[in-house]
């Protein structure tokens, strides 16, 4: 019988190789059809109207004038008179028409009036938010080495004593740090094209949750989930924001029903940014104390931020990030702002937590004049994930790739060339990444063709290629012999792509399904070869007696023994239920940045970035590296460029356009060096998710590098020229 476990490290035929994406050509040539590309015959276009004010009560809304515009087919209000709107851009009406021009003119004709209400959008100003009544406690937690101290006033005294002790013997830093709200900026906005056949709905939805969205259409439409097909072959970015059918998806389906024609409703760029996902901000005041070696003894912080109208900050459980010193107090406060609710953003909470806390650790290095590397190293015994040894090994690799020891200089003490100074910084991160539940159907046809079906999606990870490689490895076939079918809710259920769960999940189900299918085939082949099934193996396109190339059949000949009926089996993995050696949970990761800063302009340039990452067993080294390159670029964006900018009076999201929303271009990323850390100890853990972890540490690492270059801390991210110059001026 074929063995379900992964082959020993170094013996796999396909796993760990670097084949191109099997859909790479389709994507690069435009042959791949994304949701936005789906245009059924007789399709109508729909667009939404966003509320122009950040907080108001609707006094009039009338869509009937829109219906007078030639080419407009339908229009509907999405809110009633008297309703309160809590953010600018909230969808208040929608118009459906034959052409873009007709819809645009229809939108312009809608009568909409409102009474403005108080607006609050400043999430960095805690005192102002408190005064405006926009704050709420979001949890606190205290841990003291001396567990006998329980009364709050005694705890206050103990924190003061501990800090005083550090001040005497080591260093205390009182810092303020922050990172602003950013959006998901999916290149393909949220939306769908919906079409009905009788009472059956097909929703072409841009989604990272193919298997989980049919019901989200069915319930509000009052039809059975079995009457809904969600289809998505390719999705142009999700990053955690595309798990739902969304209210506008349901409206699209309703309008398709009402007009009797397919309707496409994709959000405009500005409405996309205003409605379809942001990452909460994080701001913090910290007192941190360390001994003279730089080992942190005490952490005392208050942090705040906004998740929009819901008003939640970064969860306090990840403060400080990865490290947990013996004495630690943290308090969190949420600010309720007039902005749409945040959505999960690649590694929720972690990038912000890393960016506002590991900078304080670096400031301890600055205060003591110690190499930042040594401060991180000496604090590894306090990491919360039992991975101190992995971090240590990864730090050594990263330092070598960065040439850290040679390049390092104390903060602000490096050589200057004209007005340009350079610096180094580092940060570490952690993530779970256990696989999601996944079911697949694997078929082996009598002609030797192999196909697999599952309701998964390719969020950018290369899901199709991963599946093909796992099945090919299992069946001893080349990757291109496997036909992979994903992207329909009618296929077997597979989890949503969130939490770095997809590669693990689809590998689990497909390894299991393909192994079971192979065993059925071996049972057919065994008598023909006068052997027992357990004596057979599938290698290099043959079924043969193990190690004996002379005693075997070609794959095609072997499959010919099936007669007229294909083999069909299901591979099934249920998270938390299925016992497994194929996958695991938990990663570390070390990143280092080298930057140059022009002190006269405040412009920061990335010189080099090193990312060392473990992920258990690596399925495809090229795809894994691609994930890390993308994550690092996204991290550079948050460190240096992107933020949501709001007008304080009207609550307008001022930079909700690609022209105004700053993002790095390729010329801004510098050299990125990726190292995949896969010693045997990691390989033997099986697959662990990779999508999120490498996006966590870049902002902190880059902030620390800028501080190392300047000798001045730029407290708030992104580090725009304005903030860099302001920090330099303040330090003078």
């Amino acid at each position: 019988m074929a063995d379900m476990n992964w082959p020993k490290q170094g013996t796999a035929a396909v796993l760990g190789a670097t084949p191109d994406r099997i859909d790479g050509i389709a994507k690069a040539t435009g042959a791949a059809k994304y949701t936005y590309d789906i245009t059924p015959d007789k399709m109508l276009l729909a667009r939404a109207l966003g509320c122009p004010h950040g907080h108001c009560q609707i006094t009039a809304i009338d869509v009937s004038p829109a219906l007078q515009v030639p080419g407009v087919v339908a229009a509907r209000a999405l809110k009633n008179v008297g309703a309160q709107v809590n953010w600018e851009g909230d969808l208040v009406a929608v118009v459906v028409g034959e052409t873009e021009g007709a819809v645009a003119e229809g939108l312009k004709e809608i009568k909409f009036a409102f009474n403005p209400l108080d607006v609050w959008v400043d999430d960095s100003d805690l005192a102002g938010a408190e005064k405006a009544g926009r704050t709420q406690g979001a949890g606190d937690n205290t841990k003291l080495d001396n567990k006998d101290i329980k009364k709050p006033e005694e705890q206050d005294a103990e924190f003061k004593r501990l800090l005083d002790e550090c001040k005497k013997d080591g260093a205390v830093v009182e810092g303020e740090y922050g990172i602003h709200v950013i959006t998901h900026m999916c290149l393909e906005p949220h939306g769908s094209t919906c079409e009905w056949e009788g009472d059956k709905l097909t929703a072409h939805l841009s989604t990272q949750n193919v298997s989980g969205t049919a019901g989200q259409f069915a319930t509000p439409l009052q039809i059975a989930a079995t009457d809904v097909t969600v289809h998505c072959d390719y999705v142009g970015g999700g990053f955690g924001s595309k798990f739902g059918a969304d209210s506008w998806g349901v409206v699209c389906a309703q309008l398709a029903k009402e007009t009797g024609r397919p309707v496409k409703l994709m959000l405009d760029r500005d409405l996309e940014l205003k409605n379809a996902g942001t990452r909460p901000s994080g701001f913090i005041q910290v007192k941190i104390g360390a001994n003279k070696e730089g080992v942190v003894q005490v952490w005392d912080s208050k942090h705040w931020g906004t998740s929009g109208i819901q008003g939640g900050p970064v969860t306090q459980g990840v403060i400080p990030y990865v490290f947990d010193p013996p004495n630690r107090r943290r308090k969190s406060i949420g600010i309720n702002t007039n902005a749409a609710g945040a959505r999960a953003w690649r590694a929720p909470n972690h990038p912000q937590a890393c960016a506002i806390t590991q900078v304080a650790y670096d400031d301890i290095a600055r205060a003591l004049g110690i190499d930042s590397y040594d401060v991180f190293l000496r604090n590894l015994p306090t990491v919360t994930n039992n991975k101190a040894e992995v971090y240590k090994a990864e730090m050594e690799i990263a330092a070598k790739l960065m040439d850290w020891r040679k390049k390092w200089h104390p903060h602000g003490k490096g050589p200057a060339k004209g007005s340009v100074v350079t610096g180094l910084g580092m940060a570490i991160h952690t993530w779970g990444g256990a696989p999601h539940s996944s079911t697949c159907t694997v078929k082996i046809h009598p002609d030797g063709a192999v196909e697999t079906f599952l309701g998964s999606q390719d969020l950018g990870t290369g899901t199709r290629t991963v599946i093909a490689m796992v099945v090919a490895e299992t069946l001893g076939l080349p990757v291109d012999a496997i036909s992979v079918n994903i992207g329909s809710s009618k296929y077997p259920t597979s989890g949503s792509s969130g939490g770095s769960t997809t590669v693990g999940g689809v590998s689990e189900s497909n390894r299991r399904g393909a192994t079971d299918a192979l065993n059925l085939l071996l049972a057919k082949v065994a008598p023909k070869l006068d052997a027992q099934p357990e004596d057979l193996e599938a290698v290099k396109g043959r079924i043969q007696v193990k190690g004996n190339t002379a005693k075997g059949l070609s794959w095609k000949e072997a499959c010919g023994l099936l007669g007229m009926t294909p083999i069909e089996v299901q591979g099934n993995f249920q998270r938390g239920v299925t016992q497994t050696n194929l996958s695991s949970n938990g990663v570390a990761g070390v990143q280092m940045a080298e930057v140059a800063v022009d002190r006269e302009t405040g412009v920061v340039k990335m010189l080099k970035f090193v990312a060392v990452q473990d992920m258990g067993l690596i399925i495809n080294r090229k795809l894994a590296a691609s994930q890390i390159y993308g994550a690092v670029i996204m991290g550079i964006a948050a460190a240096l460029y992107e933020e949501r900018i709001m007008d304080p009076t009207t609550g307008k999201f001022l930079n909700a356009e690609l022209a105004d929303y700053k993002l790095p271009r390729l010329g801004d990323t510098g050299q990125i060096v990726v190292e995949l850390y896969e010693p045997e100890s990691e390989y033997n853990r099986g697959v662990v998710g990779l999508g999120e972890p490498p996006v966590i540490a870049p902002p902190a690492a880059i902030a620390n590098a800028v501080c190392n270059a300047l000798g001045v801390r730029v407290g708030t991210l992104p580090m725009t020229p304005k903030r860099v110059l302001d920090a330099i001026a303040k330090a003078k």
Binding site: P52, T99, E100, G101, A102, A104, E105, K108, K417, G418, S419, V420, A596, D598, E600, T601, G602, V603, K605, L640, Y641, I645, M646, D647, P648, T649, T650, K652, L654, N655, E657, A659, D660, K662, L663, P664, R665, L666, G667, D668, T720, P721, K722, L725, D726
Partner: protein, 328 residues
């Protein structure tokens, strides 16, 4: 965008005949890199779009007796590639700064000079002057003007070529409103600060058209320096162009023009005065930069731009003189 009538004239005369006498009724389309976005957001909603890109006389770079003539619809990359402009490095540096190959290939020199402000209050539908400047004054003005901003207009002029061309003494040929009317307007006099929402950012009337840019041959040392947040096509935070007449190692005459700091490109007499009669080195460039921003009047969130403008002036002067800038 709303529906519109589309006209493609083949001659200057035809083009003039298609333009309305009222702002807003017709818009001129060249490369479209700015206009199309404005139309999609319904910031401008013309009844007729007049595409002038098919008028053959408006395209190309040629030499005249005393200068260079560039047709208004000549794409920026053609200007960049033209050897006739090799001795005007300020122009080529400004085009290179645009970075995007698509914008360089699609955008035209006339369109670049006539593009509309990027002010986010304007682009979000608040009107060109954003409630007579109140939205900008009380709002987020980190990218707005630090000079000439006491009136309602607080945007910065977006052109990246205008500072260089003004420094080089360029002019634009303007035709209309009447069929046989034409004039040569010095680019330094082409821009103006609008006082109300019915005015635009240039002296053009609605039915006038820029047909050519003329750059005189004055044997100047020139350079453009833009402070850019990144390497992408985003607009600079501040910029300056310098054109210097140098003989015997001494600056005899200078024109220093700042960009992205005022509602128009801004000629700095103070910077000129700090430079003329001296040789160019880091100190004189620094003092010219300081002089250029000495009278800046920043808004609530853009004080940092004075430092950027000062640095841009200093570095443009150093570059024009063939010296190192000491920065990126």
């Amino acid at each position: 965008m709303k529906n519109f009538e589309y006209a493609v004239p083949r001659t200057e005369a035809e083009a003039l005949g298609l333009l309305s006498r009222e702002w807003g009724e017709t818009e001129i389309l060249a490369g479209g890199t700015d206009l199309v976005g404005l139309m999609k957001k319904m910031i401008v909603t013309p009844d007729r779009v007049v595409n002038i890109k098919e008028i053959p006389t408006l395209r190309g770079v040629s030499e005249t007796a005393d200068g260079i003539l560039i047709g208004a619809v000549t794409p920026l990359d053609e200007v960049l590639d033209s050897p006739l402009l090799d001795d005007f490095p300020a122009v080529k540096q400004a085009i290179r700064g645009i970075s995007s190959i698509q914008l360089q290939a699609q955008g035209t020199i006339g369109g670049e000079l006539c593009q509309r402000p990027q002010c986010w209050y304007y682009r979000n539908g608040g009107g060109l002057l954003a409630d007579r400047g109140k939205l900008v004054a009380s709002g987020d003005n980190r990218y707005h003007a630090i000079f000439n901003n006491s009136g309602p207009a607080k945007f910065v002029h977006p052109s990246r070529l205008a500072p260089a061309l003004i420094a080089l003494g360029a002019a634009v040929r303007v035709i209309g409103p009447k069929q046989d009317q034409e004039s040569l307007v010095p680019l330094a006099e082409f821009y103006r600060v609008p006082r109300d929402d019915n005015q635009r950012e240039t002296v053009l009337a609605p039915s006038q058209l820029v047909t050519h840019v003329y750059v005189p041959w004055l044997n100047l040392h020139s350079a453009t320096y833009e402070v850019r947040h990144g390497e992408g096509p985003d607009y600079p935070l501040a910029a300056a162009a310098a054109a210097l007449e140098i003989s015997g190692g001494v600056v005899r005459e200078a024109r220093i023009v700042l960009g992205h700091v005022a509602p128009t490109p801004l000629v700095s007499g103070d910077a000129r005065n700090a430079l003329v009669g001296r040789s160019v080195d880091a100190n004189t460039a620094e003092s010219a930069g300081a002089a250029a921003v000495a009278h800046a009047t920043p808004l609530s969130h853009n004080g940092y731009k004075a430092q950027l403008a000062k640095t841009a002036v200093k570095r443009a002067i150093l570059l024009a003189a063939g010296l190192e800038t000491g920065g990126f």
